[in-house]
């Protein structure tokens, strides 16, 4: 086909433009989060002493500070990664926020607790359950994010997928934190981290396969 003919065809198709990709991505994340929230409330639900914990336990509140310090930068970053002209470079440092927050939490906990209580707090009550639930609750948001990124034009497919995986795990961890009885930063540092890193890897792997255009 001659290029000028192709241009005529493209111009004739001018009205087919889709909604801005940032909007699609926000909607997709919203839908994915809603699905996981409903699944979560239906199967696990928030823990009985949720309100008391919010009012009295700094450790409990810290869990949400940590999970949101993962999810919010990841969301902002992935929204940019959906467009081709975005160069991640220095912006990837935003993702250092969560490890910093976690480090502060862990150090404070080590100072606050006697050393013979460290081990018990790290192992917690149901670590295996935590390991399974965070990835499971990540699935709907991850699928939604990958769908939206596919609709976009990421020029760094593996990074976009990884940050998408991180975002979905951040959402899942926020939900699970309201159920999970273990509040120690030592527990978060081990068990939450494993699930979240796993989903980041899954996102990178899927991203490098399905996000080429």
């Amino acid at each position: 086909m001659r290029t000028e003919d192709l241009i005529k065809a493209l111009a004739a198709d001018a009205k087919s433009v889709e909604p801005p990709v940032a909007q699609t991505l926000a909607t997709a994340v919203g839908v994915g989060t809603l699905i996981s929230t409903l699944l979560f409330l239906w199967t696990l639900g928030i823990r009985d002493n949720f309100v008391v914990s919010i009012e009295t336990s700094l450790r409990f509140i810290f869990k949400f500070i940590l999970t949101l310090s993962i999810a919010i930068p990841a969301f902002v970053l992935v929204r940019n990664l959906a467009r081709p002209d975005f160069k991640p470079g220095k912006y990837l440092w935003w993702l250092a926020l969560a490890p910093l927050v976690l480090a502060v939490g862990v150090v404070s906990e080590l100072i606050a607790l006697p050393s013979d209580a460290w081990r018990a707090n790290m192992i917690g009550h149901n670590s295996i359950f935590c390991l399974i639930v965070i990835p499971l609750l990540s699935l709907a948001p991850l699928a939604a994010v990958l769908y939206a990124l596919h609709n976009g034009a990421p020029t760094h497919p593996a990074i976009a997928g990884a940050v998408g995986g991180l975002l979905s795990a951040g959402i899942a961890a926020t939900l699970y934190a309201s159920h999970c009885p273990d509040d120690s930063p030592l527990f978060l540092a081990v068990w939450y981290t494993i699930g979240i890193v796993l989903m980041t890897g899954v996102g990178a792997l899927l991203g490098s396969r399905v996000l080429r255009w």
């Binding site: 467009r83 081709p84 080429r212």
Partner: protein, 172 residues
């Protein structure tokens, strides 16, 4: 480009024409020294134009247009070179055909029409040919085929997506 995204066909035609000239230079320069035959340059230009079209909702209108266009062109050129790297031995001889001239271009264009449009259904092929090569409007085509204008537009859009995917399949 803003007017084009708002659905202005004339503005869109104008900017795509201008872009195609620029892109031809960019691709030719980018591929200089790699021994890429001339018809392949035109292939990549078309591929970039299709990607610009299908991904135009990823341009953030508060950002400059230039880097966005470059990013798309770059992505498609890298893809093409990667594809070429895999069958480098086969393509070495093709540099011999790198002759300037419109006749050669016409012959290659014809080959492309056959190869790419062949993937479409008969009706969609008819629609694409009518609006592109014959330059008819969607409304005229709709009248001739007894379809609604919307249906013609949808078929056209799907066909363009299919064309883009044909390029993708060449990658494997």
């Amino acid at each position: 480009m803003r007017a084009a995204i708002a659905g202005d066909e004339n503005a869109y035609h104008k900017i795509l024409s201008e872009l195609s000239t620029v892109l031809r230079g960019v691709v030719r320069r980018g591929f200089a020294g790699v021994g890429v035959p001339r018809d392949d340059v035109e292939d990549v230009v078309q591929e970039v134009l299709l990607a610009i079209h299908l991904k135009r909702h990823t341009w953030d209108q508060s950002m400059p247009l230039g880097p966005w266009i470059s990013a798309i062109a770059r992505n498609k050129m890298i893809d093409d070179l990667r594809r070429r790297g895999r069958r480098h031995e086969v393509s070495v001889d093709l540099t011999e055909f790198d002759i300037e001239g419109d006749d050669q271009q016409a012959a290659i264009d014809a080959r492309d029409v056959d190869r790419i449009l062949d993937g479409l259904s008969e009706k969609n092929r008819d629609i694409v040919r009518s609006v592109s090569i014959d330059g008819h409007s969607a409304r005229d085509v709709a009248k001739r085929l007894g379809m609604t204008e919307v249906a013609v537009r949808v078929a056209l859009h799907r066909s363009l997506k299919a064309l883009s995917e044909t390029y993708q399949e060449k990658k494997t």
